[in-house]
């Protein structure tokens, strides 16, 4: 018997391999809904979900919104630039006010690590972390896992290298925990100034040279290199970053096998990834986006109390 997911999805670190597998398996039948002419099932009819976004996001917010709407939930988007503190209302007050309007779930994106946890401890609604600071982005991790599993058929024994700014990346953390729990081997590659100091204790293989990572890996998950990192002095220039760590077709050509290329987006073409790689035959970047909707539908369904074995039937009808 697999332990239920509980009230919230805050990260992949607290989940077991079985729980992660359950979400991925539950996502499978949901993929098909998005391929229909009428992309809607009544599974979450009557549920109210608030998408609470304190940071700018297009892809993740739209993906959640599609997932919610395709399950027939009523959704409200609350976007707020800057932190709650600068707005004058605290995060907890914002959430309690929303909850007083009788909602069922909150999807939160916030610039502070731990913001989703903070909220989850203080409201009764289900909380889904859509990215908190530099902590975790669990649904991104899940959709990356699903995309890898689609391609390779399994995750166990797979060698996946996360390339780039691991230090500031919530995507990297969710990937590291998720991949390890599913039995994959994890590598990281990037300048040491963008890797956590204790990276060697995290049970991953560290590559200082991207050429070595390419020799080792089955798949590369290329992280976005944010311009702010250069301004903050972590790296001297984006130009040098591209020359030393950029994923180019020239570099990939020297790999012993074809590498699958993932990127959580949005991409900086010509910085961490070259366009011919991003648009090339081994890129699954758009498959990731498609899978994102299915994975989020699965998470919404499971947190709402849906039975995993009924997920297939849920496509056709039924309620919460």
């Amino acid at each position: 018997m697999i332990e239920p997911l509980g009230k919230d999805l805050l990260g992949l670190e607290p989940l077991s391999g079985d729980q992660i597998r359950l979400i991925l398996d539950t996502a499978e039948p949901f993929k098909e809904i998005s391929e229909r002419a009428i992309k809607k099932v009544p599974t979450l009819r009557g549920s109210t979900i608030v998408n609470l976004f304190f940071e700018a996001s297009t892809r993740t917010r739209v993906s959640f919104e599609f997932a919610e709407k395709r399950l027939s939930a009523d959704t409200v988007n609350v976007a707020s630039s800057g932190s709650s503190v600068s707005k004058g209302e605290t995060l907890v007050d914002t959430a309690r006010n929303l909850e007083a309007m009788r909602i069922d779930m909150v999807v939160i994106r916030h610039g502070a690590s731990g913001a989703a946890q903070f909220l989850a401890e203080r409201i009764e609604s289900n909380v889904i972390n859509a990215g908190d600071g530099t902590h975790e982005h669990p649904t991104q991790g899940l959709l990356d896992l699903l995309t890898l599993r689609d391609h390779f058929g399994k995750l166990e024994g797979l060698k996946v290298c996360i390339c780039g700014d691991v230090l500031h990346s919530r995507v990297a953390r969710s990937n590291i925990w998720g991949l390890k729990k599913m039995g994959a081997e994890v590598g990281v590659c990037g300048p040491r100034s963008l890797l956590p100091n204790c990276i060697d204790e995290m049970g991953v293989t560290v590559f200082s040279r991207v050429e070595d990572a390419i020799q080792w890996a089955d798949a590369l998950n290329v992280l976005r290199l944010q311009l702010e990192r250069m301004h903050a002095g972590y790296i001297p220039s984006l130009r040098e970053y591209n020359r030393v760590f950029g994923i180019s077709s020239e570099r990939l050509a020297r790999a012993p096998k074809d590498l699958l290329i993932l990127h959580p987006g949005p991409m900086n073409r010509g910085v961490e990834i070259d366009s011919d790689v991003a648009d090339g035959p081994h890129s699954v970047i758009l498959n990731q986006v498609t899978n994102g909707v299915a994975v989020r539908m699965a998470v919404l369904y499971l947190l709402a109390g849906g039975k995993p074995e009924l997920a297939d039937a849920a496509k056709g009808g039924g309620g919460r």
């Binding site: 995060l91 907890v92 690590s113 946890q117 902590h135």
Partner: protein
Amino acid sequence: MTRDAQSGMLLLRGGRIIDPSQNIDEVGDVLLSGGVVEATGRLGEIRREGNELREIDCAGRVVSPGFVDVHCHLREPGREEVETIASGARAAAAGGFTAVCAMPNTDPVTDNQAAVGFVISQARRAGAARVYPIGAISIGEKGETLAEFGEMVGAGAVAVSDDGKPVVSAQLMRTALEYARTFGIPVADHCEEPTLAAGGAMNEGMVSARLGLRGIPAEAEEIMAIRDILLARLTGGHIHLCHMSTKGSVELIRWGKERGINVTAEVCPHHLSLTEEAIGAYDTNAKMNPPLRTASDVEALQEAVKDGTIDVIATDHAPHHYDEKEREFADAPNGIVGLETALSVNLTWLVHRGIISLPLLVERMACAPARLFNLPGGSLRKGALADVTVFDPDAQWTVDASRFRSKGRNTPYQGQALRGIVQLTVVGGRVIHERGA
């Protein structure tokens, strides 16, 4: 009440008298009269000679010189909703402290003689624990212009510090050490290399990597600690290193002391008892600066308290409003309250686990702090100030922050069962705290 202090006599009967300043650890009586210690030992019948005499049975309790905290934040003036000198002094009394040193990072900063005088007059009005002001090193704690140490000392300041902020300029620190030497006061520094620590919310390591919080490396403290030690060597001034938190700092202090450099150091109860794991799932009540570190740091600090590398245990009592801590971890302010849990935390983690003896704890909490900061007290010698703490070292209690005398409720020990209860706190022969009274 003043009558007590003037003419009343207080007889503390049959307690275990622990006074490391005289190497005393024996069962006996302590007689306080006229605001000073009259006699200790087996005193038998005391003749009243017309004076009022109150006798208190202290059997099974420890009677020691009153505790002295060389590092606390009382928030007044400026943040009276968080703490006042009066509420802080009452919290101190409840924790067995007969005297505390108030850090100058108030608003406005205690950086001149008038501000020092204000702290003293508020403390006198409160009539609880004694409060000794610490003056700022620099005007406004801005790290630029030296404050007027001479006038502040004249008004009653006992040390100088820009605590809360490090003294970034080595030249300013050098001058401060030299100038303070003129007046025989220590310079207390908050050791933090600001560019390394910038934006940090907790110890840098595996836990910060996992939680996605920006870390403060141990080296941010150690770089400033060794700079200060070297400047003390250069100047002959007395550097007092505040709230040491790392194993590396302990090694550097040991290095300095072995060479006869005039360095002293303090450690806080939380750094002797908790690790970074106490943050758990972003508990802001475990957020302070310097941050909680690792188990090997805790072990090294405990060893340093034992072998004297670290001279004193100080609270760094830092009350914050509930709302300030009830927010995202990175945005929450640093600091926890400590006056009312210090003794129990030290007893629970150090004494009852056999790391140090009771007399050594009294030395670190009462005698050494008074000696280092040249304060009266810290001894039960005949004629010494009648500042006495009576406590039951074994009694167990459960921390309930809602019952603190401090206005602050921000403690990582909430709900924990600790050992050691203060029974009586006496300042100048006057009872300022009595359990159950």
